[in-house]
Subunit: 211 residues, 2 copies
């Protein structure tokens, strides 16, 4: 297909596609004449992945380039590739970590058999967790880590649904694109669903009629 068709099928404007080509985020098409290139379904897939990383993930062009390099490495398993993308889209903000919160996170990971690479210090995911528990401690909530085990229990059900959602995608770029979209949009969906679950639980526990 030509660049116009690629734009139409992906929903990405032609000037943006040309920008991605210049930045090396999208491989060049096959030249069919001096100023016309041909693109295929692989380009379309890659373009959708780049858009998910930039628009949904909010990643910088430099970070997208790193993520794509990890995706394209031949000798890594899909599990490792997914892990690398997760790390890239899970950057914690700049926060002072409370050493007690770090200790809580380490204990939580140890007792729940966290996969390799989830050490506080090396993983952005555990850093994000330690940052949130540090924030809780800073406003006087020193026992918030008590919720971690039931949180993980609930999240296992949710993670299974997430994996089912991406399972039937064949191409590697499609799997990763679905994971990025599902992870980031899923976070927003879960925030809302959690509030609905709160309202249901509060109605059941406290009752709508009691004071």
């Amino acid at each position: 297909m030509r660049v116009g068709e690629l734009s139409k099928r992906s929903g990405v404007p032609v000037p943006t596609i040309k920008y991605y080509l210049r930045e090396g985020l999208l491989p060049a098409g096959v030249l069919t004449s001096p100023n016309q290139a041909h693109y295929d379904d692989e380009h379309l897939r890659r373009l959708r992945l780049v858009r998910a990383l930039v628009d949904v993930g909010g990643l910088s062009i430099a970070t997208v380039r790193e993520v794509l390099a990890a995706v394209d490495t031949r000798d890594e398993s899909m599990h490792t590739k997914l892990g690398a993308v997760q790390e890239a889209i899970s950057q914690p903000g700049q926060v002072e970590l409370d050493p007690l919160a770090v200790k809580d996170v380490q204990a939580f990971c140890d007792r729940n058999g966290a996969p390799e690479g989830f050490d506080v210090g090396s993983s952005s995911v555990t850093q994000m967790l330690a940052a949130a528990l540090s924030a809780a401690r800073s406003v006087g909530h020193h026992h918030f880590q008590e919720v971690l085990d039931p949180y993980l229990e609930g999240m296992r059900i949710i993670a299974k649904a997430d994996l089912d959602y991406i399972a039937h995608r064949g191409a590697r770029d499609d799997v990763i694109e679905a994971m990025v979209v599902g992870t980031l949009i899923g976070d927003a969906v879960l925030k809302a669903v959690r509030r609905l679950a709160h309202a249901q639980a509060s109605r059941d526990a406290i009752g709508e009629g009691t004071a």
Copy 2:
């Protein structure tokens, strides 16, 4: 206690306390001399709640005032009060809602017995959900609503843990303060725990060794 002691016990600087007093977010203390006021544990509780709403919840002073008015209304149940606070801390961003996403949210609420007040259009929580599903549709994910039911199933376990966390707090302001902190810091904790659950599920399903 004097204002200095109130500051020390709450961790809120004296000038900030004076600002809250001027803005009517904190009731005046009892004057013990022309320029000295006395504060009690009720002031301390209210101050912690205001700080949670402002610092953790990121609410404007005007919104905090509305939330406190709802909290202080005598003839509403705790369930109603908690719902009003949830709405205030769950403002969705400005987004174009996709009518198909709105339909999906309505169907989801209907089949899961959402509590009263969860109509799309009147509730900020369902709006947040419709906004997230609209974002998914805008990047070509038209079936993301398939995850909603398992998401709710997992979130019921998490909501139970949340309710347990706030259950043993006696005073009304403490319950609400714990709910605000738990909801907002809990969102960040859940994002991290979800990524850990993904890594575990991916390891189990795909395997670390396979390509």
